[in-house]
């Protein structure tokens, strides 16, 4: 891990913070205090940012790269979200002091702004406007989880895999002459961990999408050829 500390470094200035959504509406002196404490950090792919059950983690604001948030038990794993540039993660359990509710591991090399738990706590204690911004952040994650819970409860695997592909096409997709393309990033197993099923089922479902001309998946990328048809499948509630 390479760490650039902000002391005297122009990389984390208040002006830089004001371009980040979480910090944009804060008072100038709050931004200055955060800038003084924030560090810009780099992690390679496949690095653990924090672990489920560990102490409350630091807060990360992703500048580049992608991370998976997941809960892991002995044999099984449930991926909860795939935050990317501009998204925040970590520090979820800081207000209660409880263990971290899930793990975060990088899928690609990542650059992120980092606030240590101690610094974050003192900033929250000193700046009510930051406290409110942090509350908003947790609310955003709550809303995401409410949707995930609904999908897991009522949508079948086909519809859930379609949802994952639609969301990724919308957030990460690049135009391609046959549709929209994005980096695959996830293994077959990780796709299974996202939709809550077995690897073989994901394999079969991908095959079905390919046979119907909706998707073309290679080892490196996924090409969405018919986003509307996938959207229709994603919205089906079959249970």
């Amino acid at each position: 891990m390479r760490v650039y500390y902000s002391g005297g470094d122009t990389m984390v200035s208040a002006a830089f913070l004001s371009k980040i959504e979480l910090f944009a509406a804060l008072q100038p002196h709050t931004q200055q205090d955060i800038a003084a404490k924030a560090a810009l950090v780099e992690h390679p792919a496949d690095a653990d940012l924090y672990r489920q059950g560990g102490p409350p983690s630091a807060l990360y604001v992703l500048q580049s790269g992608r991370v998976k948030l997941y809960r892991q038990s002995k044999e099984k794993c449930q991926i909860l979200a795939l935050p990317g540039p501009g998204d925040c993660l970590g520090a979820e359990s800081l207000p209660t002091g409880a263990p971290a509710p899930y793990s975060a591991t990088t899928l690609t090399p990542v650059t992120a702004l980092r606030l240590s738990p101690d610094d974050l706590q003192s900033l929250l204690d000193q700046h009510p406007d930051f406290q409110e911004a942090f509350l908003r952040l947790i609310t955003v994650r709550l809303k995401q989880f409410v949707t995930l819970v609904h999908d897991l409860a009522f949508r079948d695997v086909t519809s859930r895999l379609a949802t994952v592909l639609v969301v990724r096409a919308e957030t990460e997709g690049q135009p391609h002459n046959e549709g929209i393309i994005f980096d695959r990033l996830l293994s077959q197993q990780e796709f299974a961990d996202m939709v809550g099923t077995a690897r073989e089922v994901v394999y079969r479902t991908f095959r079905r999408f390919e046979d119907e001309g909706l998707v073309k998946a290679t080892r490196r990328s996924i090409l969405i050829r018919d986003l509307d048809a996938l959207r229709a499948i994603a919205l089906q509630e079959v249970r």
């Binding site: 449930q78 909860l80 979820e92 409880a98 942090f134 509350l135 995930l148 819970v149």
Partner: protein
């Protein structure tokens, strides 16, 4: 409901989210909160309705359920004494994300959003209490996602038995019908009945009319017997 006695500060102090609050804040919160009673089975609010309050359980148990477009009901969790549910006031979740139903005689303390807004304007540190509440709910939802996504139906039924057991008896007792257990664990009644028969054969539970007695708690622990049992929600 108009004649309900006001919420007392010492009652609020028993709610975990409020335990660290200064006494003045407890008093001002108690001043704006409303006490409500619900009979077993009564609906407290419905999924999709405009959401505008936070609810705290003082007595009894509240069932949080979701309904699919096709009408299938999925129980998400049971909230007991001290737990908080409802929308996320201040940054409106918009609509209630789920339905809440009283499972037995329930007393709730309700914190309406407009009162919260007024209080917060006077006392910005109240946000700290909210952070605590939302953070707990985040952990809870992460756990529910894992349960729904990664566990087998048997795991889910076992988890329900442990979660909803009344531990005040010599042996834990679950007073839920197979139908209710099915809704709570995301399956159908037949599967629950079959599974319970199997558990009985293995000496893990004893099926009695209207209730299930747990004989071997450890055998019901799911593959990821998580360290946070009982403290989530």
């Amino acid at each position: 409901m108009i004649n309900n006695p006001p919420v007392k500060p010492d009652e609020l102090q028993e709610v975990p989210a409020f335990q660290d609050l200064p006494i003045e804040q407890i008093h001002s919160l108690a001043g704006v909160m409303v006490r409500r009673h619900y009979a077993p089975g009564q609906i407290i609010f419905v999924e999709g309705e405009q959401a505008n309050s936070l609810w705290f359980v003082s007595q009894g148990r509240v069932k949080i359920i979701k309904q699919s477009l096709n009408g299938r009901i999925q129980g998400l969790c049971l909230m007991n004494r001290g737990k908080c549910f409802g929308s996320c006031p201040l940054f409106d979740m918009g609509k209630n994300p789920a339905t809440a139903q009283a499972l037995d005689e329930v007393t709730l303390f309700v914190l309406p959003e407009n009162s919260l807004q007024q209080l917060k304007a006077r006392d910005p540190h109240l946000v700290k209490a909210l952070l605590h509440i939302y953070s707990q709910r985040l952990e809870h939802l992460a756990r529910v996602s894992e349960v729904l996504g990664a566990w087998t139906v048997s795991d889910r039924i076992n988890d329900c038995l442990l979660t909803y057991a009344n531990y005040h008896f010599q042996q834990p007792v679950v007073e839920l019908t197979h139908e209710k257990l099915a809704a709570l664990s995301g399956t159908v009644r037949e599967v629950v009945t079959r599974h319970l028969r199997l558990l009985e054969k293995e000496g893990i539970v004893r099926n009695e009319i209207g209730r299930i007695v747990i004989l071997n708690t450890d055998a019901l622990l799911p593959p990821c017997a998580s360290e946070d049992r009982g403290t989530s929600a």
